[in-house]
Symmetry: D2
Amino acid sequence: MNMDMDSDKILEILEGNGFAKMIGLEILEVHEGVAKGRIRMESRHTNLYGGMHGGCSYAMADTLAGIAASTYGNYVTTIDGKMNYLLPIKDTEYVYCEAKVVRQGGRIGVYESKFTNDTGEVLATAEFTYYRTSEKIKE
Amino acid sequence: MNMDMDSDKILEILEGNGFAKMIGLEILEVHEGVAKGRIRMESRHTNLYGGMHGGCSYAMADTLAGIAASTYGNYVTTIDGKMNYLLPIKDTEYVYCEAKVVRQGGRIGVYESKFTNDTGEVLATAEFTYYRTSEKIKE
Amino acid sequence: MNMDMDSDKILEILEGNGFAKMIGLEILEVHEGVAKGRIRMESRHTNLYGGMHGGCSYAMADTLAGIAASTYGNYVTTIDGKMNYLLPIKDTEYVYCEAKVVRQGGRIGVYESKFTNDTGEVLATAEFTYYRTSEKIKE
Amino acid sequence: MNMDMDSDKILEILEGNGFAKMIGLEILEVHEGVAKGRIRMESRHTNLYGGMHGGCSYAMADTLAGIAASTYGNYVTTIDGKMNYLLPIKDTEYVYCEAKVVRQGGRIGVYESKFTNDTGEVLATAEFTYYRTSEKIKE
C-alpha cells in the first residue's frame, strides 16, 4: 500500500465502514485527492447476468471517492452520486477503481471514479459530490 | 407479498442476484412499473457515521428499479443511475424503498426510487435509466 | 401571477438574469419551495429535430428551480443539475415547467422540475442541487 | 476550423439548430468523437451573478457533445445530461468547451464535456448519454 495519509488512519476508517468491509474492498493507494482500490470478483458480487452488481461497483466508487475527499482532512458527507455503466464488469479476476478529485472547494468537492478490468479497459465511470463538514479527521 | 408478476419468477431473479441477497433485500410488492422492498438495518450495512452506506442504499434502489423495469417483460441493463442523499439513513428498524416508472419507452426506461424510514420520512431519492434488451424474461 | 414572494422582487431577479429573458421565460406562480413558468415555443428554441433544444428546456428548469430555492430567502448557487429527456418537447403552443423542493436543508437544497405540454403530458424531468449562500435576498 | 467531417454538413446541422445559433456558439474543431467550441461572453448569457447562466453553459456542452456523437454517422437523441458547476464562469473573454467520447456503443453513447476560460482553468464539467438512432446523417 502506497499512501500519504497515515495508513492506520485509513484502515481505521475502513474498519468503521461495515459495508466496505462486507464487499471486500482492498485499498491499494491513497494520495492527496486520490484513492485506488480493487475487489476480487466473487459470486456474491454479481447481478443476474454474472457481472458485478451495479450497486456493488457504485459502493466501491463511492467509498474510494470518499477516501480521496477525506485526504483533505475533514469528514465529508455525500450530496449525490451518478454512475455510468459502459460495459459489463465481468471476465476479470479483479475489478479496479481509481477515484480522483475534479475540484475541492471550501465546502463542496467533486470527484470522479473510473473502473478498469485486469487489462486496463474502462468499464464504468462515476462522479460524486461531497459536502465537507467542519469536523476534522483526528490524527 | 403482493405481486402481479409470477412470484416464483421474481424470487428466481433475486436468487440469481448474489449482491441483492447479500445485502438482505426483502421484496414487499411488485406491480407493473412498481417494486417495493425493505432492508432491516444491521451494522454490516453501515458507513462510518452509523447510517446506511450510500452504496448499500443505491444497490437497494437499483435492484428495485430494475425489478420494476422488468415487469414489462424483458431483461434490462442499467445505463446510468443517480442518487441524492437528503438525510442520514439511520435510527430506523427498516429502510423502505419504492421504485416506480417515470416513463417506459420502446428501448429506454426511466425509473425513480424513494427511501423512507419507519415513520415515512423521505431520506433519499434515486433515478435510473435502463436499456430494454430484446430478450424476454421466460415465464 | 400568483405569488407569495414580493412580485417586484421576482421580476427584478429575472431582469438581472439576461439568459432567462433571452429565452422568453414567463413566470406563472411562485410559492414557498415552488415556481412555475412557461415558454411559448418559437423556432429560436428548437434543435434540428424541431423540438425544444435540450439546453433551452434545461435552462428553463434551472431558472425555475433556482427561483423556488430562493423563496427561502437566500441567494443560491447551482452545484449540479441532471435532466432526463422522456419525449420530444414539440407540437405544443406552450412548454410548461414546474419546479418544487424535494428537501431544503441548512446548506444544501434538492429541487425537481417537471415539463408538460398543452395537454399535461410529462415530457421531461430534471433535478438540481443548490448551495444556499449566507447572503440574504434583500426585500 | 479543423474538422474531419464535412464542414458544410456541420454548419448545416448548426443552421437547423435555432437555439445553438441564438446562444452564439462558434465551432472550433470536430474530429471523430470530439467537438470543441467557444462562446464570447456577453450580458445576454449571464445569470444574476454576472456569470454565464448554467443553462447557457449546459446548452453549449450538450450541443458540442451531440456533434461529437454525430461524428459516428447517425443522428442521436439525448437520454440524459448532468452538469457539475465547479467555479463561476466569468471574467473571461471566451468560454471554451470540449466534448469527447467516453464510450460509443452500438446504441448508447456516453460523452463528457469540459469548460475552460481564457487561461485554461477548468470551470465546469458535464456528461451526456445519447441514443443512436438508425437514421444516417446524409452526406
